[in-house]
Assembly symmetry: C2
């Protein structure tokens, strides 16, 4: 719907949509291989076989492209663990999966760090909304869990949600710097005490 306007009905779009997806996929490849700093528009363009200027026909800026890569993979990630019961077990499963895709975790961490900087509005908007949504979802699920187990909590569930997300993100950074860190195990520790 949104992507249908002007021009023909099908022909022009199939290629454009495919091209856009190709750019997103190859960008993650380049990021994983050469790092974020190595993923210049020219390097990404070279990997696809187009000029760096052509990339900007699909994405408004390099930042917008990187954020879009993350947005897509993050949605996949959330969908993958959607069936798992319990908030912390779901986070731990996510952590386990992420261990296999360090390039993506690096992209997440780097963009998150950059998002607090004025001038990186795309990343800022993405993460602000992501955290807002995630906090609300987690808090509501925690409420359900407590109700189901017949208990009730004295703690502010929004604060608990913030804490869980913070632990997840913070542990991921420590893990990237030192692979001995056990993200899932530490999240299970948090689950035990909560």
């Amino acid at each position: 719907m949104i992507s249908e306007g002007g021009g023909g009905v099908r022909g022009p779009y199939a290629k454009g949509v495919q091209r856009r997806q190709e750019i997103l996929d190859r960008t993650l490849d380049v990021v994983a291989t050469r790092g974020i700093d190595g993923a210049s528009l020219r390097a990404i363009g070279d990997a696809i076989g187009i000029s760096h200027a052509a990339l900007r026909h699909y994405f408004a800026s390099r930042e917008a492209l990187l954020v879009e890569v993350l947005r897509q993979r993050d949605a996949d990630s959330i969908a993958r663990v959607a069936g798992i019961d319990g908030v912390l077990p779901r986070m731990a499963a996510s952590a386990d999966h992420n261990v296999g895709v360090p390039g993506l975790v690096t992209l997440y961490t780097t963009l998150l760090g950059a998002s607090v900087e004025p001038g990186n509005e795309d990343a800022r908007v993405f993460f602000t909304e992501r955290f807002e949504t995630l906090r609300a979802d987690l808090a509501s699920q925690l409420r359900d869990q407590l109700a189901a187990s017949g208990r009730h909590s004295a703690a502010d569930l929004d604060q608990v949600a913030s804490l869980i997300i913070a632990a997840f993100d913070g542990l991921q950074v420590q893990w990237l710097l030192d692979r001995r860190i056990d993200i899932a195990g530490t999240l299970r520790l948090l689950e035990r005490v909560l």
Copy 2:
């Protein structure tokens, strides 16, 4: 000792040492005012009244300069709360202080995010060592606290230390993106459950 070699004993150094500190101080000002991306070597040089090339007489690279700013302020920060009893109260006090210096928190967060990227070795070394030291200190203090209260913990204290640091860092990021986040309050929540 280290900084004494060649030339006179005092004269030449006074200026250099002072200049170096001036650069560190002004760099934080520029970062706080214009953001990290706005803190180019040229912008920092302009703020001091020297050329950008002169900065590299004191610091090997822009990254090394930024890391040194953070290293110095971080040491101040740790010293400031050193007298406070209990691990979490000390972290909460740090958080309370940081609320007043958002530019420094932004610098910390941005450099931390960048440190996981290959090519940012200065930041990587700083944070890797920082986390290692901090985890060891926290774990040892937690052990003391438990011993003093006559209890003993079933949990791995290194994991608890990781968790506390992760919560602190993660909450700071969420706070930078949404000032409604209550870092100290959420840390106290963590203290209550541990």
